[in-house]
């Protein structure tokens, strides 16, 4: 079963929930798709057995063959090509690697080269399979890296896979929930948390996913995110208390479910809540 953990707002506890669920699931897979700011490795300390570069295709112009017709520049919708000083210049960082320029060039002056945008890693942390991607600083889009991780995830699909998604609700989040069987939305008890929960709620509905909410940082004060769940009839999979000891464990990369029986029980109950969701059966 493929479970994506997302939140819209950053810092609500996606990584906390993903890592702990992967650990309590026994023999599950944790896949960190927050490739701009991956943090899962800090908690799981995996032994990496496989590492590879993730490349995209970038055009290379043969100046001897180019006659300056500018068909490639007119074609490029991303404005990644320009003609200055009697030659075509490629802005590699904004190229989307669509390959259009190589197709339209009448003189076949454009070929492609590989450009590394980051790396993909796979390994083990105890019984948990670990996968992660890291985008290079300065690169605009981590989507090719997320795609590489998901390709590997499909190989392990019969196990439980927990996908730690990036924050937000843009294209890269979409990519990390696209194949999910279930989405876990993590929300915190602020009006910011609620507003961003509304946004990802809309997103999982658009994608027709099954979903439930985990309320994190719960106190005895009013919880705007909980109010939203009750109003919308969204199933609440669990409540994680706001707790100084949990914060202390997480701040130094500890795994709460392994250090405190109370938290193990909470994550176990979230996991069984998903497995027993009547919508799935």
């Amino acid at each position: 079963m493929l479970i994506s953990i997302l939140s819209g707002k950053g810092g609500t506890g996606k990584t906390l929930v993903s890592v702990n669920m992967a650990v309590v699931s026994e023999c599950g897979t944790y896949a960190d798709c927050d490739v701009e700011e991956p943090n899962g490795y800090l908690f799981l300390n995996p032994v990496i057995s496989h590492e590879e570069e993730v490349n995209v295709k970038i055009p290379v112009i043969d100046a001897d063959l180019c006659d300056g017709c500018r068909k490639c520049i007119d074609f490029c919708n991303f404005n990644a090509l320009a003609y200055t000083g009697n030659k075509v210049i490629v802005f590699e960082d904004i190229c989307h690697s669509c390959g259009g320029c190589t197709l339209v060039c009448p003189r076949k002056a454009i070929t492609e080269k590989d450009k590394s945008v980051g790396k993909f890693e796979k390994g083990m942390s105890g019984n948990t399979t670990f996968m992660s991607g890291t985008m290079k600083v300065g690169v605009a889009s981590g989507i090719p890296i997320v795609k590489r991780i998901l390709k590997e995830v499909h190989v392990n699909r019969e196990e439980d896979v927990f996908i730690d998604s990036p924050p937000g609700s843009a294209c890269i989040v979409m990519e990390s929930i696209r194949y999910a069987d279930y989405c876990v939305l993590v929300a915190e008890p602020t009006i910011f948390g609620r507003h961003n929960l509304e946004m990802v709620h809309e997103l999982v509905k658009v994608f027709g996913k099954k979903y439930g909410v985990v309320l994190n940082k719960c106190t005895d004060k009013p919880n705007p995110s909980e109010d939203y769940c009750l109003k919308e009839g969204i199933s609440i999979l669990g409540r994680i208390p706001f707790d100084a000891s949990l914060g202390a464990i997480a701040s130094v990369g500890g795994i709460a479910a392994l250090e405190d029986e109370r938290f193990r029980a909470i994550f176990n109950s979230i996991l069984s809540g998903i497995k027993e969701d009547p919508e799935l059966i």
């Binding site: 950053g10 700011e37 074609f75 259009g100 609700s169 997103l203 990369g253």
Partner: protein, 291 residues
């Protein structure tokens, strides 16, 4: 005009808390929320007028006319984004995967593909008596958030006076929306968090900002949740010769002020007072740069 951009790398460290406080303290006349896929600044900003709303169109999406399509499969083979699928003899485009490059249209031998605009979000411009506020909301799952960030900033500019300080709330991460928000900025303030995750993410966003040769400063939020890691952050800044602007303590009143829709700097409390110190140091640095 000076532009101050607030970033963090990691989400949820307190960008909007700091940004809304800076806006209140400086009585800012112009500000923007560039976190277009999870905007929140409007929730803690007084707005009295209705916004001027404008639709945002990203890049066009491909559409295959089934009546013209001859099923040659060329478009599916050439699409690098795996956006075209075929069931039976019906070819369709997945709008969420299509990036609008136009390759399918180019290779189609019978001109069955056309590109059409699709609304990808909404931009809101609040023109109040005392200030102008530009923000936007990306439609669920749309791409091109970087382009929308650029539009949000562009929409604000006609209302900015030469002497103004423009405060911009950024998005988490280090990718295209962050890179788009960095353009034209005079100073970046990074709100860091003393956790291993927070430090790892801070180092990556500092690298991104320095790539653009923008003056980068750092403050720590919830500093007392781990004093040892806060010391490490301060030392990291000293080693990298970055201005360190102060520590903001964990303060339960922050959550309460957010939920009341108010900037925390409006309250006399430990976090609010610490933000005032960070603010004063930021202003001093920006003024030094003007000389």
């Amino acid at each position: 005009m000076k532009q101050l951009l607030i970033l963090s790398g990691k989400g949820g460290t307190g960008k909007t808390t700091v940004a809304s406080s800076f806006i209140s303290l400086s009585e800012a006349r112009s500000f923007a929320d560039c976190d277009v896929d999870a905007p929140n600044l409007h929730l803690v900003t007084r707005t009295e007028v209705l916004p001027e709303v404008k639709d945002y169109f990203g890049l066009p999406k491909a559409f295959i006319d089934p009546d013209i399509c001859i099923g040659c499969d060329m478009c599916r083979q050439e699409c690098r984004f795996e956006a075209i699928s075929c069931e039976g003899d019906l070819y369709t485009v997945d709008n969420n995967a299509c990036e609008g490059c136009g390759v399918c249209k180019y290779v189609c031998p019978v001109s069955a593909v056309c590109m059409h605009d699709e609304k990808a979000g909404e931009m809101m411009l609040y023109r109040e008596k005392t200030h102008t506020f530009s923000t936007a909301k990306l439609r669920m799952g749309s791409g091109t958030s970087g382009m929308l960030v650029t539009e949000v900033k562009k929409r604000l500019m006609p209302y900015v006076d030469p002497g103004d300080l423009v405060i911009i709330d950024g998005s988490p991460g280090i990718g295209c929306p962050v890179i788009a928000s960095l353009s034209g900025v005079d100073m970046v303030l990074i709100v860091a968090e003393p956790t291993l995750s927070g430090i790892s993410d801070m180092e990556r966003i500092i690298g991104t900002a320095l790539n653009f040769k923008i003056r980068t400063t750092v403050c720590i939020n919830k500093a007392d949740i781990n004093d040892k890691l806060s010391d490490e952050i301060e030392k990291y800044c000293a080693d990298k010769k970055l201005h360190f602007l102060g520590r903001i303590p964990y303060d339960p009143l922050v959550v309460q002020s957010v939920n009341d829709g108010k900037p925390v700097a409006d309250l006399d409390c430990p976090a609010g007072n610490a933000i005032k110190i960070v603010y004063n140091k930021s202003i001093k640095l920006l003024e030094e740069m003007a000389v």
